[in-house]
């Protein structure tokens, strides 16, 4: 179950849009900064497949300029054992 956190930098003047976009993207938690155009994004996906789909979605966001990874964690235990 991969958990990642990023600093998401929006395109010029697109912070609100980016917030809105990310809020509607599944498996995402958004923490916008008060006084800078920076957003902390925490993702938590149940498996690799969903993680890949999520990566694609993020890449295709128009309002996103760059995404820098701050933290990664992958709990590889199988469920149900």
């Amino acid at each position: 179950m991969p958990i990642f956190s990023y600093l998401a930098i929006p395109r010029n003047d697109a912070k609100e849009t980016l917030c809105a976009d990310l809020a509607t993207t599944p498996h995402c938690e958004v923490i916008p900064a008060d006084n800078q155009d920076v957003i902390v994004l925490v993702t938590d996906t149940p498996d690799e497949a969903t993680e890949e789909v999520l990566q694609q979605t993020l890449k295709n966001l128009q309002s996103l300029q760059s995404l820098s990874l701050a933290f990664g964690y992958d709990d590889n235990e199988k469920k149900g054992s």
Partner: protein, 784 residues
């Protein structure tokens, strides 16, 4: 079994770990942001609960015992997340106990009731709350129409807020015209009330908690204050430490933490407190320690009926008859209670009785007596209350700082709601239903025709549940209490509630054995999820606002009653709006208590302060009643004015010793005593959902004396069967735990619904107060 436990722990670990990982992830990102963008701030952490965001603190009284500590509830993101003691509250001055400090956790148990449920074809089905309220109203009306106005009943609670009780009383007594209104305080404080009424003509203590800062001797009469009123107890301990010449004497039927802390512990046989109290009076008179000045001016002597029964039969009725007696007759009466005679029946050495008498008799010692359930849950509860007042009255130690017979209250608002609002079958907010003037006052303030208010009381609590069993009551609405755990002789009353053609509505916050028998369950707002007021033991009313929102469809008990009242056609009397209904209700209720004997503070002042004592006259609290130095209601120009009685005197009652309803005999040879532990409140429906409290005492047990346990062949933790003529319970034994009963007695705490000890207890009660005796019945033990 070990593996299963391990598995559960693993899963919990994994879930906790994920939450922790996400938090760690967010923190890392924030940290990196901090180094890249100095001065950046992330104030809006909506989803992470561990942030040290801004917490707002709002005052409230504690949800639990009758001490009435002031707390500050910490709120963050509409969740209660912390508790501090309120330093501005004179009750506790910033200190709480373990229940208070963790109280807010009780709001968040996973099985919190958030949706209304209705019984359809035997199963409970979730319905929108408005639909459930429609059903409640229609069923109430239908039952009334078919079976008469007294076929519906309301059973409330000493944990009801004042507005809850007020609207219940107004609806049932004022509008529906039935006196079928009772509350669980009948099971907790009724004897204290009748004690006050018979001795003083007015309810509630004449002293206040400040007495503790002046007294030289504290005597606890059958109450385990260290666990039941812990904040008051630690104030006593602090006084003993800081001042010289302060002692604590514990007078009880078993050894408890209070006995451990006391300077002297005196054990008496159950029920013989009556004899010991009389023996103390005998000694006081014999040794010439009576304060004649006080007695001659302020006391009159009386006696009542004797051999008054125990109330175990349906329709039991009793009315006492007061007769004046003179001092000589009183002295003659006490001849049966010499310390030597009383030693034989009570097991208390004569010298200890004389010691107690000396303590009370020494004019240089200020004495405060504390009592609670040991004296109130008693088949002669009214009498023993009278007798302790007798002692204080003979020596004139009353209504002055430090000299205080103080009847402690168990529940947070038994005083504020049940006693002051009058949610008992015979009471009105001011006065009683039997009195025409009182009915007229109620009718005027309630805006109902005076003919609505029935002048005849109907049923007290035990009789009300008997009526439900018999079918004389067919509809009962239960709020904020758990009678299917707390009614004595429980089997009968549970079977009664389950009979066909009985409709039971239960408003509660968690599933309990009472919601299990309900036909409608209404999810209720809990404590600070609704605005309200509580009134504690020392006549202090405390207001709390709505600090967090109730979950799901949970609705304040007050508003539930208002919704039903409107559906029954009483929009006029219940016309308030949701924005300010509590304020309006308070101001309407306050009118009943106008005057220097009971004046209550305005809504505005209650909002500002951390509790206001009544009488609140000209902006000042009356801390000691009946003493003109402190009480503006005194008018007789003397140094005391007991204005509750027509002769302006306090009444001494000659009350004899009479045995318990069911004493141990050859077949059932043990006493059964029940009570609480500090960790758990009443039936545990709230405190068991607080992790730390559940963890400290996860399940109930039966305390045995080590020698009795040895004879039974039982060691700590082994199962014991407790059998009475009414039922039986199997539970694990506890030997040499926090409490050690005397030989021939067992003690069981009643917080655990898996061990319904009230199936074993007896529904005998004090014939005057109708309060059952939970401390004494006969059982036998078997190793299970």
């Amino acid at each position: 079994m070990t593996t299963k436990r391990k598995g559960v722990n693993e899963v919990t670990m994994k879930l906790n770990r994920r939450r922790f990982m996400k938090y760690a992830a967010a923190s890392s990102a924030v940290a990196s942001a901090g180094s890249l963008f100095p001065g950046i701030s992330f104030g809006d952490w909506k989803n992470i609960s561990n942030n040290s965001g801004v917490v707002s603190w709002q005052k409230a009284p504690c949800r639990f015992c009758g001490t009435g500590c002031g707390v500050l509830i910490g709120v963050s993101n509409n969740r209660a997340i912390a508790v501090k003691g309120d330093p501005n509250c004179s009750v506790n001055k910033g200190l709480c106990c373990m229940k208070g400090y963790h109280s807010v956790q009780a709001l968040y148990g996973k099985d919190r009731l958030t949706k209304a449920q209705v019984r359809k074809n035997g199963a409970m089905v979730e319905v929108p709350i408005q639909e459930a309220l429609d059903l409640v109203a229609s069923k109430l009306k239908e039952t009334r129409d078919k079976h008469g106005k007294d076929s519906v009943a309301m059973y409330g609670s000493g944990q009801w807020t004042i507005p809850d009780g007020y609207v219940a009383s107004k609806l049932f007594k004022g509008c529906l015209g039935t006196n079928n209104v009772e509350a669980n305080a009948r099971l907790c404080m009724a004897s204290a009330v009748t004690g006050f009424m018979t001795s003083f003509g007015l309810d509630e203590p004449m002293g206040c908690y400040e007495d503790m800062d002046h007294a030289n001797v504290f005597v606890t009469w059958g109450n385990n204050m260290a666990e039941m009123h812990p904040v008051l107890f630690s104030r006593m301990l602090a006084n003993r430490k800081r001042r010289t010449n302060v002692k604590i004497i514990d007078f009880a039927t078993r050894l408890t933490r209070t006995s451990q802390a006391a300077d002297k512990s005196i054990i008496f046989k159950p029920q013989t407190d009556l004899a010991v109290a009389n023996a103390i009076c005998y000694e006081i008179i014999k040794n010439g320690w009576v304060n004649w000045d006080f007695v001659n001016q302020h006391v009159s002597f009386h006696k009542g009926k004797t051999n008054i029964g125990y109330g175990t039969e349906d329709h039991f009725a009793f009315t006492d008859k007061a007769e004046s007696i003179n001092l000589e007759e009183f002295k003659l009466f006490l001849e049966d209670y010499t310390p030597e005679k009383v030693e034989k029946i009570s097991g208390v050495p004569a010298k200890d009785i004389k010691y107690l008498a000396y303590i009370y008799g020494d004019p240089t010692l200020k004495v405060t007596s504390f009592w609670c359930m040991g004296m109130n849950q008693h088949t002669r509860g009214t009498w023993i209350n009278n007798l302790v007042y007798n002692i204080h009255l003979l020596v004139g130690k009353i209504s002055t700082p430090g000299n205080s017979p103080f009847s402690l209250t168990g529940q947070p608002s038994a005083c504020g709601t049940v006693r002051e609002v009058g949610t008992l079958t015979h009471k009105l907010p001011h006065g009683v239903v039997m009195n025409e003037k009182h009915r007229q006052m109620a009718a005027e303030i309630w805006d109902v025709p005076v003919s609505n208010i029935d002048p005849k009381p109907t049923y007290h609590t035990v009789e009300m549940f008997r009526a439900l069993d018999r079918g004389d009551i067919k509809f009962m609405w239960i709020q904020v209490t758990n009678p299917m755990v707390t009614m004595p002789n429980l089997n009968r009353y549970r079977d009664g509630a389950l009979k066909d053609d009985r409709f039971v509505v239960v408003s509660d916050v968690y599933p309990t054995p009472t919601t299990d028998v309900a036909d409608v369950i209404l999810p209720a707002a809990m404590w600070v999820e609704q605005e309200g007021m509580f009134g504690n033991s020392e006549r202090r009313t405390q207001h709390f606002g709505q600090i967090v929102d109730p979950p799901g469809e949970a609705m304040s008990d007050t508003w539930q009653i208002i919704e039903v009242a409107r559906r029954l056609g009483f929009e006029k009397q219940f016309s308030w709006s949701q924005e300010d209904y509590i304020e309006k209700i308070w101001e309407e209720y306050r009118r009943f208590h106008a005057g220097p004997k009971h004046e209550m503070a305005s809504y505005e002042i209650l909002n500002e302060r951390s509790g206001v004592q009544w009488p609140f006259v000209d902006g000042k609290e009356t801390r000691w009643r009946f003493n003109p130095k402190y009480d503006p209601a005194c008018t007789n120009g003397k140094d005391f004015d007991f204005y509750g009685k027509k002769d302006n005197r306090a009444w001494i009652w000659a009350r004899p010793y009479e045995p318990a309803a069911e004493s141990p005999d050859s077949e059932y040879n043990f006493w059964l005593n029940t009570g609480r532990v500090i960790e758990h409140w009443h039936t545990g429906s709230m405190t068991r959902r607080v992790p730390v409290l559940h963890n400290a005492v996860p399940s109930a047990y039966v305390e045995l004396h080590p020698e009795d346990a040895a004879e039974l062949g039982v060691v700590n933790g082994e199962k014991v069967k407790i059998i009475s003529r009414r039922g039986e319970v199997v539970m694990p034994a506890q030997i040499n735990g926090r409490g050690v009963p005397s030989r021939g007695m067992v003690f069981v705490p009643f917080f655990d619904e898996s061990y319904l000890i009230n199936e074993v207890t007896l529904d005998a009660f004090c014939p005057i107060s109708k309060q059952p005796d939970y401390k004494k019945c006969a059982v036998r033990l078997e190793k299970a």
